[in-house]
Symmetry: C2
Subunit: 309 residues, 2 copies
């Protein structure tokens, strides 16, 4: 059931062209980097309202992190082991005026080596919305644990013609920190809740066991183990391809990975377990536009009602 790769690329390019023509996405000259038009943003805001509503009974703490995170925090997450090819490290110019003149000359001559004048700063781009939370949660949890509502622009260095594979996009997450039971329940309950939200919007979603895109040969074992332990589930829906549906929401159980790395413990002093649900806001909007058409006023009445359109 494999599609021809060129046919798929063509489907991506066609949908991207439609989105750009409609003013929903604004091209930047770099694959995977787009501005969002007002209507695209509006749909995201309306979808987010549903997420907020679904989370309200559980009284989450709201935190909003910027798109950058401490380099020290980044290095504690194992991202450099697992997905180094996706990372974004932030570098700046710390030299003197003579060095700057040289750098500018090179840049104007079109020499990419101008960047050799730069130094690494103390920050990285955020790879996943929950990373900045963990160092802020270091310490002992109460018996109830914590539930946190997050949203951040995340970065993934994977330029692609697929409009759903952006280099910079927003994840809206609910993260649970607590004992294993609390974390696992969160993951399982939100998977169901999220499936319901997506179905209420007319998206023909499927829930599938999944794995992260671990790097290299060692990564193959990580992928297999993650699948086998059923640590990651994705909610997928066809956007440009029936055969290769797109993950629009992801539910992860991290075991005690972050608890150990950031010294977060349960009330009993055990390493905390964590789990998250992450809504890929841009992908959800893209799925809605693909499924129901580019004009929200013409979407099915039930979908319009859910989104208060």
């Amino acid at each position: 059931m494999c599609e021809n790769h060129d046919a798929l690329s063509q489907a991506y390019l066609n949908y991207r062209a439609e989105l750009i023509e409609a003013g929903l996405l604004i091209p930047s000259g770099v694959d995977g980097v787009y501005g969002r038009g007002g209507l695209f943003e509006d749909i995201i805001q309306r979808f987010e309202a549903l997420v907020t509503q679904a989370g309200a009974p559980f009284k989450p703490e709201v935190m909003r992190f910027p798109p950058i995170v401490s380099r020290q925090t980044y290095l504690k997450t194992d991202h450099i082991e697992n997905m180094p090819d996706l990372m974004g490290s932030v570098h700046s110019f710390c030299g003197n005026e003579r060095e700057q003149r040289k750098m500018v000359e090179k840049a104007h001559a079109g020499e990419g080596e101008w960047v050799e004048a730069l130094s690494a700063t103390d920050v990285m781009l955020v790879p996943a919305a929950c990373y900045p939370l963990y160092p802020a949660a270091t310490g002992r949890l109460s018996k109830e644990g914590r539930l946190v509502d997050l949203k951040t622009f995340v970065f993934r260095h994977e330029p692609s013609v697929d409009p759903a594979r952006m280099q910079s996009f927003r994840q809206r997450e609910y993260v649970r920190l607590g004992n294993p039971q609390q974390a696992l329940s969160h993951r399982n309950e939100w998977l169901e809740r999220a499936e319901k939200i997506h179905r209420s919007l007319g998206l023909d979603v499927q829930v599938v066991a999944a794995n992260d895109p671990f790097f290299g040969r060692a990564g193959k074992m990580m992928k297999a183990s993650q699948l086998e332990q059923e640590l990651k589930f994705e909610i997928v829906v066809p956007i440009c391809s029936e055969e290769k549906p797109t993950a629009i929401t992801s539910c992860n159980y991290h075991l005690d990975h972050f608890g150990l790395a950031f010294d977060i413990t349960t009330a009993e002093g055990e390493p905390a377990h964590t789990a998250c649900i992450g809504f890929g806001l841009e992908r959800i909007a893209l799925a809605l536009f693909k499924t129901h058409g580019l004009n929200p006023q013409a979407w099915p009445a039930s979908v319009k009602k859910e989104l208060e359109l």
Copy 2:
């Protein structure tokens, strides 16, 4: 009337500690990089509603860009000449598994040189909310020109203990593209409108001619020229210091700088002139909390009414 620098630093540190204690800011371990608590975010959203309302009669096009921008676009803006020390260049790992193992070893050994394994990507962090717009506006404007509503996380590499000097923060902007008269009117009218909004929130603001933090000795001339030509005005208010009030909103007339750089022309074929008003959302929230106290429920009735608190 100069304050002692140490006294000012102490005032910054004290206010920062208060904000963190109240859960309004969440420290990250890096100066100038903070998470925002739910209440802090809520105040920003309420303030933004006032900005949206003030802009509505002029029917702006809404565009939302991610926090990264094409490197090519960045290099067309003269930022590398004018403020290279503030830039953020995004680098990633593009090597093989052997190179990755070496990099990880160095990182775990605490050797900062692990970053030597990284390469520059096609993107930079956005230095100002309006930069990503200009390449998307290349071409000939209509007689009416354009008015665009923007919001983006911008990056400035200037670690500071001043909670109002963040490395990553949001600018909400209205950008006007058109002929000189259209651009200048936009700048002047919004300066008045913004002053009114800030005053309605009980902020004792002042409007002052200002200059950008141009780099180096050549930058001194740029600063003087910008001041003399009255191209930049800031709306300032005391946050941690009466003597050194903080710019919370900025109004800039760019002349034909971006029109020339990005080949944007008026209906008559002349280089377009541009102007913008930029609201520094985090600084405005910080000014409100400083002026009225950390509990919005106890803010003056008139301010609560404006913000629908």
